[in-house]
């Protein structure tokens, strides 16, 4: 069966520090991968998605970036965090063909001080 792992679960970072959140998927090949941000109790904002290694689509202009160095690895990064980057970050995967349900990790709670 397929599993998705996302870490760390919580992170407290000072303003201006770098960020690296990692997500890995097991049990499937060539998945679509997604990064979302969620404000408290609200819906999901798609940040990036990837349909293959090295292929990244950015949905929202911001100081975050994403990379996919391996087929089942998706990384969310920032060189300098802003206070507005605080939030709940979710990674998800879906089968490669379009229109499929997504399966989410447990999320990372990021607090910027």
């Amino acid at each position: 069966s397929q599993t998705i792992h996302q870490w760390p679960a919580t992170l407290v970072q000072p303003v201006g520090s770098p960020l690296s959140l990692e997500c890995t998927v097991e049990g499937t090949s060539n998945p679509n991968l997604y990064w979302y941000r969620q404000a408290a109790g609200r819906g999901l904002q798609l940040l990036f998605y990837s349909v293959g290694i090295g292929q990244i689509s950015s949905e929202v202009p911001q100081n975050l970036s994403a990379s996919r160095p391996q087929d089942r690895q998706f990384i969310l990064s920032s060189k300098k965090l802003l206070l507005s980057d605080s939030g709940f970050y979710l990674c998800a995967w879906s089968p490669g063909q379009g229109g499929q349900p997504q399966h989410f990790g447990d999320g990372t709670r990021l607090s910027i001080l």
Binding site: Q6, L44, L90, G98
Partner: protein, 111 residues
């Protein structure tokens, strides 16, 4: 841009009550999914509806896809505290890699 509006945004009820959550759009989707998210966790897929007019039941939860495939509803019978969470609908289009997520409905069921 496709949008999905959910209503109500927030619902607080007593255990044993019935409720309905709506998910509406002016756009047609090839399928629609419902997710439930508990605090501090990722959303979990509940169901996918594909055919216009389709009704699916998951224990006390009944999901319906509108005839025109532009809207959907989730009905919960005899709600329990374990139903508490954020309910999200998401529209999908064949061949498109992204889902359109709804605005979310927060449900609180008190004992």
């Amino acid at each position: 841009t496709q949008l999905l509006e959910q209503s109500p945004q927030f619902l607080s009820i007593q255990e044993g009550e019935n409720l309905t959550v709506y998910c509406n759009s002016s756009s047609v989707f090839s399928s629609l999914q419902w997710y439930r998210q508990e605090p501090g966790e990722g959303p979990v897929l509940l169901v996918t509806v594909v055919t216009g007019g389709e009704v699916k039941k998951l224990k006390r939860l009944t999901f319906q896809f509108g005839d025109a495939r532009k809207d959907s509803s989730l009905h919960i019978t005899a709600a329990q505290p374990g139903d508490t969470g954020l309910y999200l609908c998401a529209g999908a289009n064949t061949g498109f890699q992204k889902l359109v997520f709804g605005t979310g409905t927060r449900l609180l069921v008190s004992p």
